[in-house]
Symmetry: C2
Subunit: 466 residues, 2 copies
Amino acid sequence: MSEENSSVQMDKETFDSEVRNQMRLRQLHTIIEKQDSKGLSELYDSMEPIDFALLLENLDDEELSQLTPIMDDDELAGTMEEAEDKERIRIAHALDNHRLLTAFEYMQKDDIVDMLSDFPIGRRKDVINLMKADDRKIITNLLRYPEESAGGIMTTAYIALRGDYTAEYGLEKIRAIGPKTEDIETIYVIDNTGSLVGYVDLRQILASPKSTRLSDLMDDRVISVLPETDQEDVARLVSKYDLNSIPVVSPNKHILGVVTVDDVLDVIVDEYNEDILEMAGVSKEESLDTSLGESVRLRLPWLMVNLATAFLASFTVKLFESTIEQVVALSAIMTIISGMGGNAGTQTLSILVRQLAQKDLTFRECWKPFCKELLLGLIDGASTGLVTGVIVSLMYGNAWLGVIAFIAMIGNMLVSSVFGFLVPLILEKCHADPAVSSSIFVTTATDVLGFFIFLGLAKLFLPLLM
Amino acid sequence: MSEENSSVQMDKETFDSEVRNQMRLRQLHTIIEKQDSKGLSELYDSMEPIDFALLLENLDDEELSQLTPIMDDDELAGTMEEAEDKERIRIAHALDNHRLLTAFEYMQKDDIVDMLSDFPIGRRKDVINLMKADDRKIITNLLRYPEESAGGIMTTAYIALRGDYTAEYGLEKIRAIGPKTEDIETIYVIDNTGSLVGYVDLRQILASPKSTRLSDLMDDRVISVLPETDQEDVARLVSKYDLNSIPVVSPNKHILGVVTVDDVLDVIVDEYNEDILEMAGVSKEESLDTSLGESVRLRLPWLMVNLATAFLASFTVKLFESTIEQVVALSAIMTIISGMGGNAGTQTLSILVRQLAQKDLTFRECWKPFCKELLLGLIDGASTGLVTGVIVSLMYGNAWLGVIAFIAMIGNMLVSSVFGFLVPLILEKCHADPAVSSSIFVTTATDVLGFFIFLGLAKLFLPLLM
């Protein structure tokens, strides 16, 4: 199938799914009007829970509060598990505490914790106090971990069996516990003190003679994390080792929970969106649907910070006003020098940001790449500088103007190498996110120093330029 | 544990793993020297295959060709499955075709295809011709699909059972096929013509009475893709519906293969790196270790393109040389206007790029957000323009200069809204990647038009400024 065809089909699919969504929404409105709980179950069963959750985003609060009473508890739980954070809270808002607790019975503990941590403190406390004692204990424990740590995203529904179990007995246990867990492929093996000692793949248990001990089947090279481990590090491990789940353990190797690969997917997609947006000074909370006022609130501060740095660059130019007054061509050329430094700096910093997202770098490891980056600045600066110099010389009929542009370009490219390399590294060491704030420091440097080098040289050799 | 402590621990871990790697590398060198195949097996078993593959990156070609003869076939296969593309080819280069085929016996078909597609055509043909007839058929079929499509990343090792099988018979089949498949949790159900009709979760098979038919257990809402589907769309579906694997089917619903969640993780990480880097004009192939010459080759073309656009902006300034000559302050202020437009435009385009990465947008859907973006440009332009205008008026003692800066700022922010919104959208419709090329169009627009609006206004009202 050609590129052309495949895209046409895609567009048709997009169109079809829009039409279907419109139909479903009309159906849902009728259901709410007639309080038709049978029709609702039919609609719910005909869709994936996530699509149903997305459909509810089109309802207003009033409609939502008329819908929840005719939903079954498991439908309600399924919808809340799949809904986005904001939508979840809106649904929870339409429920009293009693109904909410009933729905919680059908939900995974990590999803409940996720929801509760977005609740206003008062309601969170009320709900937790109404829980059964053992649930309350698990939930309060989970709530203690930071939201973006292994403990914050782990689930407590996993399978851990003792190593002295036989394959047959183990399988019996798996049959019983399995339906409540998210990952059935990886079975963790613990010793009689409850410490994690290895894992077995369900395939091996299925394929082994009934009397084999799990401890004879298990692989003892099990990769685990502490509950405090940052979710990005967890994601890196799961993706590097192609795991279905990774156990979260206490310092004495007791399993506290597991993080499953689908949660890791969410983490990676979130971090991706965060980095793409925050590199450009946009909050990860913003999307096309964000209200005007909210967008202003989220974007204007970043623009104001940029304005301050723009003035810094502008002051640098102002310092050389008398020089520009005498050779006005400088004003047209200086923007080339500063702009090119910004572009080269952004290239260098992107490489660093990507590298730092994958693993920590020590200053020692950086020595060689840093020298390479400097050389690269020299070569790229000389190449673009040469082109610039020649064009400028011809355009303004003054060879010295070209020479100065050439030297300034090399100088500013070296600036871009130094700042593009060091700024992300230093931010990372200071525990700041290099993706978010690097670019402003780097482009400020290339603007200010780019103007300074070029105009400074021009001032120094002014007689040659006139 | 405080932030401080956790980071110290991390740094210590990084340090430990570096030391461990150095030790292992020394061990490996001794093993090669002594041709100690027992020692090699011990080393291999003490590590994860991916870590062993990473370790081999430190060997030169000579050492590698001395190592492979003492490796077991399954060690060799495990290493090649985990190694990066480049390293894989280097290992394959150290093997003759016969040894390579023996190692292939232990590898998943999708990994073999991945490797073969990176081979020089001649060797690829030779290797394929040496394969057994049925392997050759599967491999040549898989090789036909584009590398970044569902067909290109799918594996042919999956479990599909007929709906009229009982749970007991199904489980027997799973025991037999399971060890060769990547996903054992999702069992696909086919009818007697071989068409996909649903799926069953292994948990349900384990928990059901032995005589239950799979067709009674299955869910018939199965999400599938065509082999031509882009890998990004596959990743989106797997992540949205939290799937362990997604079947790739022919138009008549025969299963051709499945894409598993670990392959999807790789796709997402790759696309992430690609977007982050290519937005900044860096190739996804570049990393800190890339050689100097290679880096120049990869980065210089982008800088040259940028240089062309920088000259475009410079020509615009040159048009107004006589105006600048009379009011030299303009040269310091104009960089503020153009720079701020660039920043605001980058914000808008990032939102669009992110949105387009998640789903296609029709022009019709964009009408409202586009108007919002224009209003936002007006508000942000008025706010930053006011600050700029006041400071400029005070600094240069001319209120009119401030008024012109204020109006020009609003104008250029509107430019940034229009281009930041439309450029990614149009590129997407033209089947270009908006992440890669948007920024250059947008910043060219904000530079050229920013200078033009500001200097044009200044020229128009020149008498007021002097």
